[in-house]
């Protein structure tokens, strides 16, 4: 069942058409991969879906309800949480404070006047910190954490709000293999509990190992979608990644062999 539907989205920056009639769906309860060469429009698509960019045309729907043009805080309210390509945490706030920013924003202004560090709230953040393994650093300023820890913190900061969908923009970028395995395990565990994921990633091994379904973008359009094996074998994908010339060379070599 499709959870997020993107219909004919276009977005141009000056002469660059970052998205050019992009149509795709992300399925509910699955880990959806989104791959494509540099400049194929993956991050722009994320920005459009999460309300950071207004599309020039086209529709985005979540659970069949249109969310096109909603502001980021409203999109978040519809159950979509995201991370950023360049990790973004709140550096001058402590690790715990970082987590509580996202927690429980639904209750209107009255709830905003309540203490952020009530026992109930903190037991929740304790669970999340244990889950990502950052409990030891709870009182530390987030800016003092290592890059990998910041990645985990950003992830935890989304997760604490229990969104329906978590969109991860290059979670593996600059992360060491041990931490990557750790992160993948966390993603799978959350997915097992029903959270849908959309993962933009360049690390093919990571994507193919993690994702149930992969969409491929090229020049602002979706060119192919399916399970990892199908996508890996698709000639259009190879073309998008390696270029036509390369493929011709490959073919020529294949003939020679």
């Amino acid at each position: 069942m499709s959870l997020i539907e993107v219909q004919d989205i276009a977005k141009a920056y000056g002469g660059i058409r970052a998205l050019d009639g992009c149509t795709m769906t992300f399925e509910s309860g699955k880990i959806n991969g989104l791959i494509g060469p540099n400049g194929s429009g993956k991050t722009t698509l994320f920005n459009v879906v999460t309300g950071y960019e207004r599309p020039d045309r086209g529709q985005v729907a979540v659970n069949g309800e249109g969310i096109t043009g909603l502001s980021p805080d409203k999109v978040f309210g519809r159950g979509l949480g995201r991370t950023f390509q360049l990790t973004r945490i709140f550096p001058r706030m402590t690790v715990v404070e970082n987590l509580h920013v996202a927690a429980q924003r639904a209750g209107g202004f009255r709830s905003e006047l309540s203490r952020w560090s009530s026992t109930e709230e903190r037991s929740k953040s304790k669970e999340v910190l244990d889950f990502v393994g950052l409990t030891r650093l709870a009182a530390e300023l987030a800016g003092n954490l290592s890059y990998g820890q910041q990645k985990l913190l950003e992830f935890a900061g989304i997760m604490i709000a229990e969104p329906q969908v978590i969109l991860l923009d290059e979670p593996a970028g600059g992360v060491n293999p041990t931490l990557l395995t750790h992160l993948a395990t966390r993603i799978q565990a959350l997915n097992g509990q029903g959270t849908t994921f959309v993962v933009v990633e360049h690390d093919m091994e990571f994507v193919m190992g993690l994702c149930h379904r992969v969409c491929v973008m090229h020049q602002g359009r979706a060119i192919c979608a399916g399970d990892p094996e199908t996508v890996r074998a698709d000639p259009m994908v190879l073309e998008a990644y390696l270029g036509t010339d390369m493929r011709e060379i490959d073919d020529a070599e294949a003939e020679v062999v």
Partner: protein
């Protein structure tokens, strides 16, 4: 919640306190006693030092204390450095002057009675101003706040039928004994400053305040985490303007005259900003420290060198020195130094807080789906906890 199976044992509040405790933080008792002690000293000050020359300086310092705390609860928390708070200061001054004039309020305590209205008018003024200036960020925001402040100054100059123009407005001084004349101003300002500080403290503890800090650190991400950033910034500005308006009203009654160039003055915000920066921007104690130390110093310079603007140069040099030596302000810098000293001491003596459990990367991955355990009536005590 969904991830509960990652930590099968339920946690007692005390466990969480232990895990989240900042090992270097002063206990809340120490902090409480320090604050009460500080304000006891401030309350006793004009009764001990009764010389009117001294208490006058003290009164202006209290005005600064009130306004600096108020300025910080918007600019310090949200990171939007306003150099246009004189708008609210001036609105407060003119509100009191005009009310006294048109309602024929007799000189005396009644003039101080209209102070809440001065705050409300300033707060109301902050809504349209905020909706305009909060559309932009950082440097553009700073420049825009100054511009709006000068617009208000021009308006005050150019509507003499209302504001008296450059001749200003008079607020008849209360006919109190010269020996105790300063006291009501001092205590009203001190009381309002305490109220402002309590507001600031309450904001810092609330989800609303956490949202402001998130806006300061990364507004776009804050937006993506469900924070209504424009609303949050505007509310903080309105609260801040309310207290600064009261400071303006107090000033108008105390000095007895309101002029456009002194009501809507660019220097005012420089003081508030410098006091907050030097003390520690966005902290609770920083602006208090800044205003209490630099406020009297500013008065001294103005009295000593007020004939020329030389004192502004001295002030500038002082500011540069502090920026060079303690770039983040006195309170955060001292707090950092104290932390590293304490940490070094603990390392040497082998004592200090035990690094509490919490899963590390070496711990096994969370297992797959499992039914979340129901909350037992009795909390399960963890071994060794």
């Amino acid at each position: 919640m969904a991830v509960i199976q990652a930590t099968p044992e339920l946690l007692r509040p005390s466990d969480i306190d232990h895990a989240f405790r900042d090992p270097y933080a002063l206990s809340s008792r120490t902090r409480g006693i320090s604050w009460v002690g500080l304000f006891a000293i401030l309350a006793a000050f004009p009764l001990v030092f009764t010389n009117p020359a001294v208490t006058s300086v003290a009164v202006f310092t209290m005005f600064f204390l009130l306004a600096t705390v108020a300025w910080n609860l918007f600019s310090g928390y949200s990171g939007y450095i306003s150099i246009g708070h004189a708008v609210y200061y001036g609105l407060g001054q003119y509100t009191v002057a005009l009310l006294v004039l048109h309602l024929h309020i007799a000189a005396g305590a009644g003039e101080l009675g209209v102070l809440p209205l001065a705050g409300l008018v300033a707060a109301a003024g902050a809504v349209p101003v905020g909706l305009l200036v909060l559309r932009v960020r950082r440097h553009t925001f700073i420049v825009l706040t100054i511009a709006v402040m000068f617009i208000f100054q021009l308006l005050a100059f150019n509507f003499p039928s209302i504001t008296g123009g450059s001749t200003g407005l008079n607020v008849p001084p209360p006919a109190w004994s010269p020996y105790s004349y300063n006291l009501p101003f001092y205590y009203v300002a001190l009381g309002t400053a305490i109220l402002a500080l309590l507001t600031s403290w309450g904001i810092r503890r609330s989800k609303f305040g956490l949202g402001l800090l998130a806006i300061r650190d990364d507004e776009d991400r804050a937006k993506g985490l469900g924070i209504k950033v424009t609303r949050a910034k505007l509310i903080a500005l309105v609260i801040s303007a309310f207290y600064v308006g009261i400071a303006g009203g107090l000033y108008a009654v105390f000095v007895g005259q309101v002029f456009p160039q002194f009501a809507f003055t660019p220097f005012y915000d420089l003081y508030l900003a410098v006091f907050s920066f030097v003390g520690g921007l966005g902290t609770l104690a920083g602006p208090v420290l800044g205003a209490l130390v630099l406020g009297p110093l500013q008065q001294y310079f103005e009295i000593q060198f007020g004939a020329t603007t030389l004192y502004l140069i001295i002030y500038g040099v002082l500011f540069i020195l502090i920026l060079l030596l303690l770039p983040r302000g006195v309170v955060p810098s001292i707090s950092d130094r104290y932390r590293s000293m304490l940490a070094a001491h603990w390392r040497k003596t082998g004592r200090g807080p035990a690094t509490q459990g919490g899963s590390s990367l070496s711990q096994g991955p969370a297992t797959g789906p499992a039914p979340a355990p129901a909350m037992p009536a009795e909390p399960i005590v963890r071994e060794g906890a």
